[in-house]
Amino acid sequence: MAVCIAVIAKENYPLYIRSTPSENELKFHYMVHTSLDVVDEKISAMGKALVDQRELYLGLLYPTEDYKVYGYVTNSKVKFVMVVDSSNTALRDNEIRSMFRKLHNSYTDVMCNPFYNPGDRIQSRAFDNMVTSMMIQVC
């Protein structure tokens, strides 16, 4: 369902980024990188009139011809970015929200791991499995 999932740290470098192997990975990395600007715009006070809800979920960041990009920011300024295939049966907003919820829960678990150094790349297998389950294509 999701084609690419990325976890970006507070300082805007990636902690975890993974895409389905069938496509050119570089393209997805670039898309995630450009979406960071949109995320910053949404969480800055300037856009207050538009995004007044005090929510962590940012919604659709921007659509391209093939893909849609969704964003989510935690209170510790860690960003989750998800790229979804447009041609797929349109995923409802609720499903995207629940996917981000799961991501956030797994990320919290990773943070609480005493052997994990905040700022390192995420190498937890449990996190990997959770992301894999979200990326498996439904035939």
Binding site: K10, I43, A45, R54, E55, L56, V73, T74, N75, S76, K77, H104, N105, Y107, T108, M111, C112, P114, P118
Partner: protein, 187 residues
């Protein structure tokens, strides 16, 4: 009821354990304090990640400070911050009249230096603020004021690590947090 005592005892043991296992010269140059602070910092980060998972997004610094004073303090210390003051230019003073980790120490000058070690173990609060704020909040230091009940008011203050912190983070402007605790429960 018992879990309160568990945490307090464990915390005290940790503090004295770090000092006992310190090598020569580490006590003087403050490395023990740094170790304790780093431990607390890491614990604070994990805690904050869990607590803020379900709360609404913080709009500004004041929001973050209110969250710290109410929700976070209640969850960790079972009470709220008694007094929050700010100069609106980035300095916040949190006052806790009955800091749970220090209430068991008897009042008086004898234990004042040890109180500073206990506070170092409270780097938990640094981790908390560090996790929440982008680059703006620095943990400045702790003023421990011990005062004895009744007639004689002995007030002494310990500014721990303030100069070091100022030097290290000096280039970063804005918020610093000063915690002031009344060390004695006989207030």
């Amino acid at each position: 009821m018992a879990d309160e005592a568990l945490f307090l005892l464990l915390h005290n043991e940790m503090v004295s354990g770090v000092y006992k296992s310190a090598e020569q010269g580490e006590v003087e140059n403050g490395r023990c304090i740094t170790k304790l602070e780093n431990m607390g910092f890491r614990v604070g980060q994990g805690l904050i990640e869990r607590f803020t998972k379900d709360t609404a997004r913080f709009k500004d610094e004041l929001d973050i400070m209110k969250f710290i004073c109410k929700d976070f303090w209640t969850t960790v210390f079972k009470k709220q911050i008694d007094n929050l003051r700010t100069n609106h230019q980035g300095i916040y003073v949190l006052q806790d009249n009955k800091f749970r980790l220090l209430t068991q120490l008897s009042a008086g000058k004898q234990y004042l230096e040890h109180a500073s070690k206990i506070k170092a173990g409270q780097g938990i609060t640094t981790g908390n603020t560090g996790g929440l704020q982008e680059s703006k909040v620095d943990f400045l230091g702790l003023l421990v004021a011990g005062s004895s009940a009744g007639e004689r008011k002995v007030t002494s203050s310990l500014l721990t690590a303030e100069e070091v912190l100022m030097g290290r983070w000096g280039m970063w402007k804005v918020a610093k947090i000063i915690y002031s605790f009344k060390g004695s429960s006989l207030n």
